[in-house]
Symmetry: D2
Subunit: 375 residues, 4 copies
């Protein structure tokens, strides 16, 4: 089918969310428990507060599935909300209003844009709840890839002050091991010692009403050589990843592999020299598997830097949307960090881009066709 398109919509206090993917082949296994597991993992990831309790994990397919495999039509998922109050009342029954926009949030810009003096309507749109729809579909994309032999995982590679040891993903990482480790951790962490440090950092931040940012690293391997395009610019795989991942709320930077080091290191140290054995093997993977807009056969490694949550227990300086008078920003939610949850979201969106790249290159209406073309 070529191109795979992916759309979501919904608000956090409406009757639900929806996600739809156009262009998936027939025959992808739809494992409801796997999807539920992804959704639960996002929902109960470390750093999130009481809010998670309000979310349901229920979902239904509106189209695209028959006998537990995709049928080739649009794959549409509906995720009913538990709280359908319309966001108009708080949990204790008071009418919600957001007169004082939260710095770091869309509150202010959205209110000016749509001409409102209560940012609630903006907050509904910008709610992190929408990312549940990303993850529900992300589980399907990741499964599609795994059926084709392309495994993936995402982990928290930094959380506020905690910096796990940097690992090098090159050659043939034991993907299954890392996938299981990262998926089993509420911190999306690869190492118990890091988990402890992260738990401490979250506890400390929570105590002072503060929030934490961090970094998520997503890895795909093995990856066929030559996915993507050199030109046109908007079909380069690096551009596609950057566009998709920067579109996730809270993401402030997208880095390919060790891309930041490229600013410092001379070319002789940065570029990944060939082992010279006639395969795609390299001596390093600073490029994160992407050169010239194309995959080069090394693991695809992408880092996304995530900002701290803008809603603080100890609120920041703001001003009224009504009359401009100074005041403290609203305090809506008690999460300390979204970073562990973002591991699931980043992986979902990255899996979409990879799915699209494979479908663009291999076409095919049925999974088995694509498998045979990939071989």
């Amino acid at each position: 089918m070529g191109r795979v398109r992916f759309h979501v919509a919904g608000e956090s206090h409406s009757s639900g969310l929806m996600a739809v993917a156009y262009g998936l082949p027939a025959g992808i296994p739809i494992d409801r428990s796997e999807i539920a597991r992804w959704m639960a993992a996002r929902r109960s990831a470390a750093g999130r507060g009481v809010r998670q309790e309000l979310e349901a994990d229920h979902f239904e397919f509106l189209s695209g599935v028959r006998d537990n495999v995709t049928n080739g039509g649009p794959l549409a998922i509906f995720l009913p909300n538990k709280d359908r109050s319309g966001g108009s009342v708080t949990s204790n029954g008071k009418p919600v209003s957001l007169e004082f926009p939260r710095p770091g949030h869309a509150d202010y810009s959205g209110s000016i844009k749509w001409g409102v003096t209560d940012a609630t309507v903006v907050a509904e749109q910008a709610s992190a709840r929408i990312t549940a729809a990303y993850v529900a579909m992300g589980a399907v994309f990741a499964r599609f890839l795994r059926e084709l032999g392309v495994d993936s995982f995402a982990h928290v590679s930094r959380l506020g002050p905690v910096r796990p040891r940097r690992r090098r993903w090159m050659g043939q990482p034991r993907m299954k091991q890392w996938r299981l480790l990262s998926e089993a951790s509420r911190f999306a962490s690869l190492r118990p010692a890091d988990e402890e440090a992260m738990a401490r950092a979250i506890g400390e931040a929570k105590e002072i009403g503060d929030t934490l940012g961090g970094e998520v690293e997503v890895v795909f391997s093995p990856v066929p050589v030559g996915l993507g395009s050199i030109q046109p610019m908007d079909e380069r795989l690096d551009a596609r990843f950057a566009g998709a991942l920067m579109g996730i709320p809270g993401v402030r930077a997208v880095v390919l592999g060790d891309g930041l080091d490229g600013a410092f290191l001379p070319g002789s140290s940065f570029h990944d020299q060939f082992v010279g054995d006639g395969t795609s093997a390299r001596r390093s993977n600073h490029a994160g598997g992407l050169e010239g807009g194309l995959t080069n056969g090394q693991p695809v490694v992408i880092r996304t830097v995530v900002k701290p949550i803008p809603t603080l227990g100890a609120p920041l300086s703001s001003q009224s949307l009504k009359d401009g008078r100074p005041g403290k920003a609203e305090r809506v939610r008690a999460d300390v960090t979204a970073v562990p949850a973002l591991a699931w979201i980043v992986r979902s969106l990255a899996a979409w881009v990879m799915t699209d790249a494979i479908m663009q290159r291999y076409g095919g209406d049925r999974l088995e066709e694509i498998e045979s073309r990939l071989r």
Copy 2:
């Protein structure tokens, strides 16, 4: 007209390049000398070698211009090449061949993709020459924005070991001053002392046959509040910038404002608190003017990290595309760094995204209509 689309094509040794923009309004001044100046600046930016001599600055409009203003139709530019050899011979007449792909370049992946054992054809496609077409149109986008009061500049904020002092772009920077400074410098530098350090770094790298990466920072100001979109994800302005800038050859990371710091700083230090005077003024601009996918009225600040050029004077380890035997990568070009040239390219693409955002929000078939809507 809404959406502004932008396409380029061409190779470095064909009869020329083309660039076309669909959706620009009528009435934008087309100042040929301004466009020529942008093209010359890119071509003769510091760090580039003899190659620049081979490029011409000539260009012609195929459509879209009448009496030195745009006419509302597709704006198409043709840039004839000086060297039209087809890339099949070197400057001294030898037939070019690229049997040993350059690490960091599309050579290897492209050769596998298209089934060739001589990467010349890949190199033609991936040539930096194409960026001349970006810059020719970029001058028009930047001019369009300036006509609407939105000024811009780009500068080299890092070059290998040289780290110019970080500046804070907030409030109302004196844009014209910074624009003139950056445009006047072959290093796209804002400070003579930095230029000297950069020149030294380039000289040292050249001596040992090495190359340098760095970072380009682009700034727009003043910017209306509310450009972009919270949803859908692919119309968020942050996602649009990331997609466009990561699509530039050599770019490895895109960072919004001080986005990298967000991974370390707690929310209380990272988010840009309101001054509280009823305007969009903030006490800091870590967000780089972008919150929730929308502009927030602060200067838009985006950094792109650029890798060192993959073609080294002292070539890297590679292997034959024909038989896989180890060998040294080809040595095609003598540039030390593309970073100063990239300042122009990054600004061009960023100006395109900003132009599109303004046209999406304000519509209009004539510049004067848009001006009146912006006011």
Copy 3:
């Protein structure tokens, strides 16, 4: 916001359908009873059989509405299905199977494409039920246009053997009158005498187990001059209308105004000469208000020719998807004609294209902004 995107998904026997529109401004009145009226009109249009009973009219907004106006975010509608059997059983409990594809339907091609020998899964995808989602959103698009002064209606301009007198839509048709007439008729007819003839034709076809095609004409007026684009080809308004309307299941031809006559008439008779009073007035409207990809100020008039329903009471010759042996096609549904229902669907899609054209030209985040720009 510029571009307005519109997507639907769902199947006829799943838990429901969804429709989402991205890019609508804030402030469009959302009148639930108006939307329900459109949906009911489509559902109970003349020519449809028992099936209509199985459809529900219920719908919920998943996002985009606050206090009965759009809020500027994605407008998402969820339409639960009444029959959620998954299509796996017939109304009398027998398992459904479609071994013998219906000529005229996607059954055969879809089964080959997705490698199935039971076309049920294809039929679910290609079900006319999906058009309920078009109409739910179509009511919103039409309302948006009417708020801006652009009225619309659609009527059945032919139904099998019945050919209502051709009317000329030019100058300033009394749109409200025609709108109310067409909306009040189960045949989407403008004249009681035609309704009677249509009812007779439907009755006769039903008796012999046959089906009927026809033609729907949609009209917009008044329309601003200059919507659309001459180039690029895919932004011409004529191309946009054709693409959108031909994408409706059952549509086999799209004709602008009296476009078919253009093949016969000499230019001197076909082209719409100016009255010459300095306004956009013409002496005829053969062009259907569209010249050179742009609106010309005359009513926009588009005709879509609709084929007879492929599921006949007296089934057609087919062959088994399993072993190729000849046999009669399946008989799934008892509708005689979809043409009156299509009046609502055609108007919905055409209203989307017109909405997009207006948003592309006028931009704007709030209805009131757009109103002031249109004036």
Copy 4:
């Protein structure tokens, strides 16, 4: 590569035109004489006047070709204009002005849109000259398809009063024969007797300063079953054809197969019953090979109705763009009909859509890959 995108730009009196196609595989033969033959056929098609003399047939590839095959990069063609006057003077040296817009042309709407009182600038944009770029690329698309075994031709199926006998394209038409016949005729006619009648009709129209419309029919065969999509609506193959063909200047209706008959015939007569031999064979091909948005294995047959040229020798009533006073429209060109030339243009655009459908379904970076997947 998936999706094939196609863009053109240029004006009739600038330095030239450009066409670019993104997404074509490597390995398509580029036969310059074949492309030149298509361009010459369009230029010298019957019904066109002196104007054709002013057009050149020269073209150059800016990218995408190496050793006479495509290389997988963007395929960009530059077509220099012979007359580079900018359109500012007539052939006898007088300054051109278009104060009185031609009914049927974009003159009026474009002038209002861009706020000009001289429609010359609009006419440049809307010039038929741009279609030369369509045809240059069309030759490549058609060649790509033929390499995969999908042959095509287009012929004039009506020219003003002349109605060639309707042929039925079903089963396995002898495509090569019809292709050679249609290509050899300046009238794109399949029968010498029709040619004579067409020549007479053109002569008569020319004498009285009038113009003629008509109809072009394009045929593809053999075509694989299942190209296209049922949903989403904008990826249905019927919608793609309609959008592309209606975007050609002068086209007023797009009809799939015998789609117009569908309005009259009952379903029992219209739908194409299976022969019942286990193949895709049908007893008729009213559907034109397209059912439910998908190809069904029968020849794809599409008709486009073309209006008479709006520039008449005996001009129509118009009014001044400056002061609204009545007057006769400008007389710019002496062509009688564009229909025979449109056979080439329609075939070019239809071949693009078919190319895209094949690339979406089969993917592939090299022609040989796609060939092996199609087999």
